[in-house]
């Protein structure tokens, strides 16, 4: 159908991952009392970033293969 859905998914997850990681590092650690003293923003942000890069990578590889 032309649009490869993995590309927008890759971009949004990469973006969210970076936002969460930066926010997790810079913010007052007191807010993580809520999440049982785990810096969940940093760790979950990293997980989202990895997933985003993976999906984006799949989309890029597919678009290269389609080009002659």
């Amino acid at each position: 159908m032309g649009l490869d859905i993995r590309l927008p998914i890759g971009i949004i997850f990469t973006l969210y991952g970076l936002i969460l990681m930066v926010f997790g590092l810079l913010t007052d650690p007191a807010i993580f009392e809520r999440s049982l003293n785990v810096n969940i923003d940093l760790w979950w942000g990293a997980a989202m970033l990895v997933f985003g890069l993976f999906m984006g990578g799949l989309a890029l590889r597919a678009s290269r293969q389609n080009r002659p």
Partner: protein
């Protein structure tokens, strides 16, 4: 609640992407097939995740978390007894007829197999049900945002409905399906940390079991044999036959909302794999919705503090309790995503049934294709408007899921009888479908009336819904068989491609084993059995 700038920014980015996908697909909607069926061109993994996601509306996330808090692990039956076997069945046995007969909707199959009046009855009842259900997703979203960030009920209803209307208006089913895939991943990433943090807070599974207000809440099957012993007050017969057979097969095998995703697949194996691919994440969803519900009730056994007196609050209350800013934005986005995917699924199913089965058939046939494309867009706007009105009706019920099961019991439960006989018994006559379906629906209405005026009573609304489904199904089945015996059968050559015994089986020998529907279904069912045993 404590959202900060970063949380609002995350939500705003989500809206940009959802609308962006709609705009990116705007130019591709050239024919009505593009708009309503995505030109039958989408790979199996995408339609599979969309199949899963279209069902992930308010029903899944808030409804099942609420039910888990109210009824305990018994709610696992909605997944491991109900959904998974039905999804395997529709993929292996029914999708070949839907996809192979080239119909554009479920009611259209009924016209081919039975006759015009059967199709019209189903199209009308489906259209009404879909509009009502789409309001549920809006209601859930609006209640949530009122509670979490003090948005007035009406303003969040209108704003979120508008976004769904825009992306479907622009990109039709393709836009809905692509967004559902994005929404699926957001839902998984948004709710998974809740399961982890929730379990950690109560001290793992052992701690959870010790803190639950009723020891029966920790079991799926152990208390099913006596109705008095389980929290839902329903016995094994009502559960297995009512939920596990009639309601679940009625929903997963005949509801056009999910079947439509299969019809958009690029070829027959992809169409058959659609529900099977969906079944894999579906099996593990209790982790993301039922577990937080259980943690909520174990932290607040009286339901007065954390839950604020309403079971529907279980999931949002847990998000508020455990998610710090940042992750909170992701969690709220996941909730928004689930509401939108549910609502969009209903809207795309409605506009297709309305345009093909009602408008093109009865009101204005024989127009050029572009006319029906335009009608599909108008129907989208109409469906969203009615959904808004419905959101206000739902406010009257105190548990979303009971309301939905009630609707399914009215319309889907008898329908499964019509399909079962139509697809697997070639003798079933053209007239019998209509009379069977009509008497099934009337039986459901009669049962509901008797229950409503307390002529018959059940221990819970959910139990009443299960039995209503059984009554509707049995009446439809019996009436269809009896009418068939008194009417002419159809000629066999007219039924090729529509009835199991007259249709060549799809040959999947040339596919690798992991793409063969039969093998996939057996593997999925085996894992499902293991899950049932672990959480017995």
């Amino acid at each position: 609640m404590h959202p900060q700038f970063v949380d609002y920014a995350i939500i705003a980015i989500y809206f940009v992407f959802v609308l962006g996908i709609g705009f990116a697909l705007r130019g591709r909607m050239k024919t009505s097939e593009d708009f309503f069926l995505s030109g039958r061109s989408i790979p199996g993994w995408i339609t599979g995740l969309a199949f899963m996601s279209a069902n992930l509306g308010a029903l899944e996330v808030m409804g099942h978390a609420a039910n888990a808090a109210k009824y305990g692990m018994f709610v696992n039956h909605f997944y491991w007894l109900a959904a998974i076997p039905a999804m395997c069945f529709v993929g292996v046995f029914m999708m070949p007829f839907y996809y192979g007969s080239k119909v554009r909707s479920v009611p259209e199959y009924l016209r081919k197999r039975y006759d015009e009046k059967t199709r019209t009855l189903n199209a009308l009842s489906f259209a009404v049900m879909t509009l009502l259900v789409s309001g549920v997703d809006l209601y859930a979203m609006a209640i949530l945002f009122q509670r979490l960030i003090n948005w007035p009920f009406w303003s969040s209803v209108v704003a979120s409905a508008l976004v769904v209307a825009i992306y479907i208006y622009l990109g039709g089913l393709t836009s809905s399906i692509y967004n559902e895939v994005l929404q699926f991943f957001l839902i998984v990433f948004g709710f998974l940390p809740l399961a982890v943090l929730g379990l950690k807070a109560v001290g793992g599974f052992a701690g959870l079991e010790a803190k639950l207000p009723n020891p029966g809440y920790a079991h799926t099957w152990a208390n099913i044999w006596e109705a008095g012993q389980n929290p839902m007050g329903i016995n094994w017969f009502g559960t297995i036959f009512g939920l596990g057979f009639v309601l679940s097969f009625g929903y997963w095998c005949t509801d056009f909302l999910v079947i439509q995703r299969g019809l958009a697949a690029k070829d027959m194996p992809a169409a058959q794999r659609t529900p099977l691919i969906a079944a894999v994440p579906k099996m593990f969803f209790p982790l993301m919705v039922i577990l937080p519900g259980l943690v909520a009730i174990s932290l607040d056994p009286t339901t007065t503090q954390l839950l604020g007196g309403r079971y529907d609050n279980a999931l949002p209350a847990m998000l508020g309790k455990f998610y710090p800013s940042g992750l909170l934005g992701i969690g709220l986005t996941a909730l928004l995503a689930s509401f939108m995917s549910g609502m969009a699924g209903n809207v795309t199913a409605f506009n297709t049934v309305w345009t093909f089965d009602i408008y093109q058939t009865h009101i204005n046939p024989g127009k050029p294709d572009s006319h029906y494309l335009k009608m599909g867009r108008l129907a989208t706007v109409f469906a969203v408007s009615v959904g808004i009105a419905t959101a206000f009706i739902v406010l009257r019920f105190n548990n979303l899921m009971d309301y939905l099961q009630l609707l399914f019991a009215f319309f889907n439960a008898p329908l499964f009888g019509t399909f079962l006989l139509g697809m697997f018994w070639k003798r079933t006559s053209a007239h019998s479908g209509f009379w069977g379906l009509l008497s099934g629906i009337l039986a459901a209405v009669a049962h509901y009336t008797l229950y409503h005026y307390r002529v018959i009573t059940y221990p819970s609304d959910m139990a009443a819904n299960f039995y209503q489904a059984i009554v509707a199904f049995v009446v439809c089945f019996v009436v269809t068989v009896v009418v068939t015996l008194f009417t002419e059968p159809r000629k066999e050559e007219e039924l090729v491609g529509l009835v199991y015994s007259l249709t060549p089986k799809p040959r999947n020998q040339d596919l690798p084993w992991y793409e063969r529907p039969g093998i996939l279904a057996v593997g999925i069912l085996a894992i499902c059995v293991v899950l049932n045993i672990i959480f017995w």
